[in-house]
């Protein structure tokens, strides 16, 4: 028996589900193969871990009370009635929503375009108001430096 064949049968070997011939062959292989012995140990560990997990279980004496309380709370919760809407109402609401979205979008993009495009003019106007002479223009200085 080769390792591949032995490996496939290791858990069934542990479960005692192999027939006598297969069982004997796996045992014979295990006796001479250290790698498969290691694999078997790991698989044994899997079963030991599961057993350990099962043994860790401790019943919760309050579980029934907790569940009962939750059931009672959910029964007492006031359910908001769902008002069925007509198709025409849904369509009107959807159309209104889309129109509102477009209006907001247009308004927003216009204000953005304003701020981006007229920035230079606004600053020039402001600069002219605060520095009325032709001697100083912040934009000219900037332009020269760049």
């Amino acid at each position: 028996m080769k390792c591949k064949e032995a490996n496939i049968n290791l858990l069934s070997y542990l479960d005692g589900e192999l027939n006598t011939e297969q069982h004997g062959r796996v045992e014979q292989h295990l006796a001479s193969c250290e790698q498969c012995q290691g694999a078997l140990e790991n698989l044994k560990q899997l079963y030991i871990d599961i057993k350990g997990e099962k043994e860790q279980y401790q019943p919760n004496p309050y579980l029934a009370t907790k569940v009962w309380d939750k059931i009672q709370t959910s029964n007492q919760t006031v359910k908001v009635p769902v008002i069925p809407m007509r198709r025409s109402t849904i369509a009107t609401l959807a159309a209104a929503g889309i129109a509102f979205g477009i209006a907001i979008g247009t308004l927003f993009s216009t204000s953005l375009a304003d701020t981006n495009g007229n920035n230079h003019d606004q600053w020039t106007q402001l600069a002219n108001e605060y520095f009325p002479s032709d001697v100083f223009s912040p934009y000219e200085i900037l332009d020269d430096n760049n």
């Binding site: 290791l10 790991n42 919760n60 579980l63 569940v67």
Partner: protein
């Protein structure tokens, strides 16, 4: 009191006492089954609460031709699978969120204390091994995982597993054989890393 009497008592009188008896009777079965799918008993108990709420709410629709335990097993398996799926989704969202926040986050990385530094190496290795073994069960395809957990965590017979999963006996045999083969493959490949 038999299961049938308990059910009648709960349905007719909404008896808390009868319900508590039912929970007490099936608590171990439910919690241990849920534990097979999850990593902690705390999670398993949370799912168990949902299972018993569902049992209470659906008791009227319970058909007595199936055993009560079989019906409860089904609910426990479904709730556990839902829990695992929800956890996977949440992990995915967290990792996506983490990917974007990590990019924009200029803060110093948090220093994480190495909690395992004082533990002996064998303990770390042991818990790492345990995690790997549990992960190999979680990686099994859903039906194989259910069959394996019912077989190993509940020691159910092939016939009982077939009843819970509503599949034929040969299907259970095949599912368990494939589950074991896949587990072996995964564990062996992890060992070779």
């Amino acid at each position: 009191m038999t299961d049938k009497e308990l059910i009648e008592e709960i349905l007719q009188h909404s008896s808390q006492k009868a319900f508590a008896m039912l929970v007490e009777r099936y608590q171990e079965l439910v919690v241990k089954t849920c534990k097979g799918f999850t990593n902690s008993y705390a999670d398993a108990e949370d799912i168990a609460q949902e299972v018993f709420i569902e049992v209470f709410e659906s008791l009227e629709g319970f058909r007595s031709e199936a055993k009560l335990s079989t019906w409860i097993y089904r609910i426990a398996v479904n709730k556990s699978l839902n829990f695992v799926r929800k956890q996977k989704r949440e992990r995915l969202f967290r990792s996506i969120e983490g990917f974007f926040t990590a990019k924009n986050n200029d803060e110093e990385p948090m220093q994480i204390e190495d909690l395992g530094r004082n533990k002996p190496d064998s303990n770390i290795e042991r818990s790492e091994n345990k995690r790997m073994l549990k992960e190999s069960i979680n990686k099994l395809p859903e039906n194989q995982r259910i069959a394996f957990i019912l077989s190993k965590y509940q020691d159910l017979s092939y016939k009982e597993i077939a009843e819970v999963m509503e599949v034929s006996l040969p299907s259970v045999e095949s599912l368990l054989f494939r589950a074991k083969t896949n587990l072996q493959k995964h564990i062996l490949s992890e060992m070779q890393k």
